[in-house]
């Protein structure tokens, strides 16, 4: 027989007039191998169909189900009830816009980030759809892949005190996303241009090295080394004035 789990879940639907934030308590029998995706689905099917939460892939690839599980940002699909006490508190991720209950809008945040920082491949070459893809050496490809593994779940942002203190700080996810293009040989921007975007208190020099990001990234991205890498690269460019002016570093 499984444990009897108690869930205290944040309920609030800002789009429903008259809705006020409250905590609702649910009870559920634990089953073997139960993760929070299973638990929440059962709660919604058996106890309260109005409970809002997000899921798509159920396998830690889509980044939709980030939430605060007993205070820490986690993916619900990757968190098993057996690793938690019988009392489980669920809150929506902070930082992002609340859609209702446990559901938040991470998409707008990441889209704004991309627009603000130019987080896409910048090239002057026209795309030729029938041309063969250019080759890239394996080491570079792997390094890009390491950054590209980010699923934009937002856990690192919720876990970063600096993000909470300074809304415009783009956090580890934002910086990591720019590193991905900086590493890409097809991107034609020089380091100096990246400095313009990232070399400030809202970019890498706002990071205080608290490592909440790395310790809470469900994909185990090597964020410490990633952040340190870009910090050094940009500092080398930033201290030599002339290069900053020319654009290509």
């Amino acid at each position: 027989m499984g444990r009897r789990l108690t869930f205290d879940i944040f309920r609030y639907n800002p789009s429903v007039p008259g809705s006020t934030p409250r905590i609702q308590t649910f009870q559920l029998e634990e089953t073997p191998g139960m993760n929070l995706f299973v638990a929440l689905t059962r709660l919604r099917e058996e106890q309260d169909p109005s409970l809002k939460f997000d899921f798509v892939c159920r396998m830690a690839l889509c980044g939709s189900c980030g939430m605060l599980i007993n205070g820490r940002p986690r993916l619900a699909c990757k968190t098993f009830t057996r690793d938690l006490p019988a009392q489980i508190n669920l809150f929506p991720l902070p930082v992002f816009k609340l859609l209702g209950d446990l559901s938040v809008d991470t998409g707008t945040w990441f889209r704004n980030l991309a627009l603000k920082t130019g987080a896409w491949l910048h090239t002057s070459r026209a795309f030729e759809h029938d041309a063969r893809e250019e080759r890239m050496d394996n080491e570079t490809a792997l390094r890009i892949y390491e950054a590209e593994r980010c699923i934009e779940c937002g856990c690192c942002l919720a876990a970063c005190a600096k993000v909470h203190l300074q809304k415009e700080f783009i956090g580890a996810a934002g910086i990591n996303r720019l590193v991905r293009f900086m590493l890409d040989p097809r991107d034609e921007r020089g380091v100096a241009q990246y400095f313009e975007v990232l070399g400030s208190e809202n970019g890498i020099y706002g990071c205080m090295g608290l490592m909440g990001c790395e310790d809470n990234c469900p994909k185990d991205l090597p964020l410490q080394l990633q952040l340190a890498y870009i910090r050094r690269r940009l500092a080398a460019t930033g201290v030599s004035r002339s290069q900053t002016r020319q654009g290509k570093g």
Binding site: A161, L165, V197, N202, G209, A228, V239
Partner: protein, 213 residues
């Protein structure tokens, strides 16, 4: 991409410079603190050795230069890191709330760094004031202080300063370095333990000086 996505004012590198000022001043202060530890510990070899060291530093003007530079670097340090100290109720509240929810060691370590920094500001000023008021430096005078009112004061200042210095270089290596956190913590922890031993040895020797007399 827009050329300048955000208007940073006339010098877009100022955030980097502030960061570098914090880094360099912090590292220089750690150097000062650790050199200070070994100079202090010469008293373990006896009062005459300590007094000889003090006279040597005096003869080549190393004392006033060292203290003066230390104060200058300290001033630069405080000015460059002050921007990070969460002032105001809202900042304090969100910082403590995140830390408490996350129960996250490195975040708490940073909060403690800010608190110890502020304590050092008060205690170190007092320490420098007291020593300068009774210049020149002599083992007998220091021993008198350690044995009368100042022992607990020095122990607190020592622990607070070593924590602050250790956590500071740890974070700087995490922020700039090539090594994973575990190795950095191990290396810094070892260094701090060593320096702490040297310092406590010095204090103990000052404490014994009077007893022998």
């Amino acid at each position: 991409m827009p050329d300048k996505p955000e208007a940073l004012g006339p010098n877009p590198r100022v955030d980097l410079y502030l960061e570098l000022a914090g880094l360099v001043s912090g590292l220089l202060l750690v150097t000062f603190l650790w050199v200070h530890a070994f100079l202090n510990a010469t008293v373990i070899l006896g009062a005459p050795v300590f007094d000889g060291m003090a006279r040597f530093l005096e003869r080549y003007y190393l004392s006033p230069v060292g203290i003066g530079l230390g104060l200058l670097v300290g001033l630069i340090h405080v000015l460059s890191v002050a921007r990070r100290i969460p002032t105001g109720y809202r900042e304090q509240r969100s910082l403590w709330r995140v830390a408490r929810k996350l129960r996250h060691a490195d975040t708490y370590a940073w909060i403690l760094q800010v608190i110890t920094g502020l304590i050092i500001l008060v205690l170190a000023s007092t320490h420098i004031w007291v020593v300068l008021a009774d210049w020149p430096l002599q083992a007998a005078k220091s021993a008198f202080r350690v044995q009368t009112n100042y022992l607990s004061f020095y122990i607190i200042l020592l622990l607070v300063a070593e924590y602050h210095a250790g956590a500071g270089i740890y974070r700087q290596f995490v922020k700039w370095g090539w090594f994973r956190r575990r190795s950095v913590a191990l290396a810094v922890g070892t260094a701090v333990a060593l320096i702490l031993t040297v310092n406590l040895g010095g204090l103990w020797a000052f404490h014994q000086l009077g007893v022998a007399r």
